[in-house]
């Protein structure tokens, strides 16, 4: 057994991503990415029947994935999504997770109570920054950190490190 993660996105353009982009354009015109995508990121710990368990949870709980307005896909062991691929840009991903999170705690309790065969759930937000080809990965990572981590009023936007953990996983192939 291991952990299995899924990403969930809106079928329509994500309003939070649009607002983030317009804010970046205003406060960081030189560093602004060419694309910004936002996903809910759910990590299910030790599902007993692997993907079958997750399929069951997702189809049962529309608070996790609302099929009317959201789509989802698995992230496989190599960090790729089953969704679709786009290699034309330089992608840097950032995962933002609340250090203390009632949502994860309560979903863990709900799923344990309903005998859904997972040890726990961890909810995060995944932001995907896309830069036009020609930007080095290091340069792109530095820009992403600058844009993400809110340390001063005029520095960073997407995560407050006082209450949130920020990590840069290997970029997914979505």
């Amino acid at each position: 057994m291991g952990n299995i993660s899924i990403i969930v996105r809106l079928k329509s353009p994500d309003p939070a991503a649009m607002t983030a982009m317009s804010t970046f354009r205003r406060i960081y015109p030189e560093m602004c990415p060419d694309s910004l995508q936002r996903y809910d990121y759910w990590c299910f710990m030790n599902p007993r029947q692997g993907r079958e368990t997750i399929n069951g949870i997702v189809s049962r709980y529309h608070d996790i994935v609302n099929p009317n307005k959201q789509t989802w896909s698995f992230i496989n062991e190599s960090g790729d999504s089953d969704d679709r691929s786009d290699d034309s840009m330089v992608w840097i991903d950032v995962r933002v997770t609340d250090r203390i999170d009632s949502v994860s705690e309560n979903w863990t309790a709900i799923l344990r109570r309903s005998n859904s065969e997972v040890d726990g759930v961890l909810c995060s937000v995944l932001w995907r920054f896309g830069f036009a080809p020609g930007v080095s990965s290091d340069n792109a990572r530095n820009k992403v950190l600058e844009l993400t981590v809110s340390t001063y009023r005029d520095h960073g936007l997407l995560a407050n490190p006082v209450s949130q953990k920020i990590d840069l996983p290997a970029p997914l192939k979505i």
Partner: protein, 273 residues
């Protein structure tokens, strides 16, 4: 002594308490005007004496409550006026904007040193709306223009992200920034729900900067300005006052606990504090 002070109420897209906030400021003997987030020039030209960031959901709470509004140009002006010592109050979403602006606790200029994180209550998550009790700390009563407040104050809260959080290395100096703390109707503090309704560090309901002129508070004083706004079942002194005013016929015109924040500021401008 000064002429009638002007208190600016800043309206962001998604603010929803600006009109009642403006009204209670006027009912406290001050002038008030609402400025939209893109009216920074008008705001600058009108030289307000104090600023209030009202409650609501600025920018629909996208990304993180208060995070986008904190980057708006109008906040440059509020920030600079606060540096000059003018009183600034953030209520609920306004408090979230002040935190994301680094204006409270403000130990290092402009640095974001705290967060208003999602409520942390066992067995539930999300939005919480209820009445709470709080008291002002002794230091806040001395230095904060909004807080000439004694005793136990009941106020309503309505938020999903109201838990004050500080980095562990800053825990030692957080107490001096404490302005308002949750307690029960007798004044006893507890870290447990419902006395502390969101898991806030040190039971904090309000945090101020070192000078005391900037106050970020999660409860809504403008929603408890009149005694008739208090619920019938409210225990404690203010519940008794409500019952008494109802029996004595002064119910409609008697001021409630939330008025203390605004009359306190009015007294500050009159030089009575």
């Amino acid at each position: 002594m000064m002429s009638v002070p002007l208190v600016a109420v800043i309206q962001f897209p998604g603010s929803n308490c600006e009109y009642e906030t403006e009204r209670v400021i006027r009912n406290s003997g001050m002038d008030s005007r609402i400025y939209r987030w893109n009216q920074w020039r008008e705001l600058k030209d009108s030289l307000p004496d104090a600023y209030v960031l009202p409650g609501g959901f600025s920018f629909q709470d996208r990304i993180r409550a208060g995070a986008v509004a904190a980057k708006e140009r109008i906040m440059d002006l509020v920030f600079s006026e606060a540096e000059d010592g003018k009183p600034v109050l953030g209520i609920c979403n306004g408090a979230q904007i002040l935190v994301e602006s680094g204006m409270v606790p403000g130990w290092e200029k402009g640095r974001i040193e705290s967060a208003l994180a999602a409520n942390h209550i066992s067995g539930r998550s999300g939005y919480l709306s209820r009445w709470i009790f709080l008291h002002a700390t002794a230091r806040a009563q001395q230095i904060c223009p909004w807080l000439e407040i004694n005793g136990i104050i009941p106020l309503p809260i309505a938020h999903a992200e109201g838990r004050f959080v500080f980095s562990e290395e800053n825990h030692g100096r957080t107490e001096r920034s404490a302005a308002l703390k949750y307690c029960d109707e007798k004044g006893n503090e507890s870290g447990d729900y419902p006395v502390n309704p969101n898991g806030s560090f040190l039971n904090l309901a309000g945090v101020m900067n070192d000078r005391g002129n900037v106050l970020a508070m999660m409860p809504h004083p403008e929603r408890a300005f009149w005694l008739w706004q208090l619920p019938p079942s409210l225990p404690g002194e203010w519940g008794d006052r409500r019952t008494h005013s109802l029996l004595s016929g002064s119910y409609a015109s008697s001021k409630g606990p939330g008025s203390l924040f605004f009359t306190s500021l009015a007294d500050f401008f009159k030089g009575e504090r």
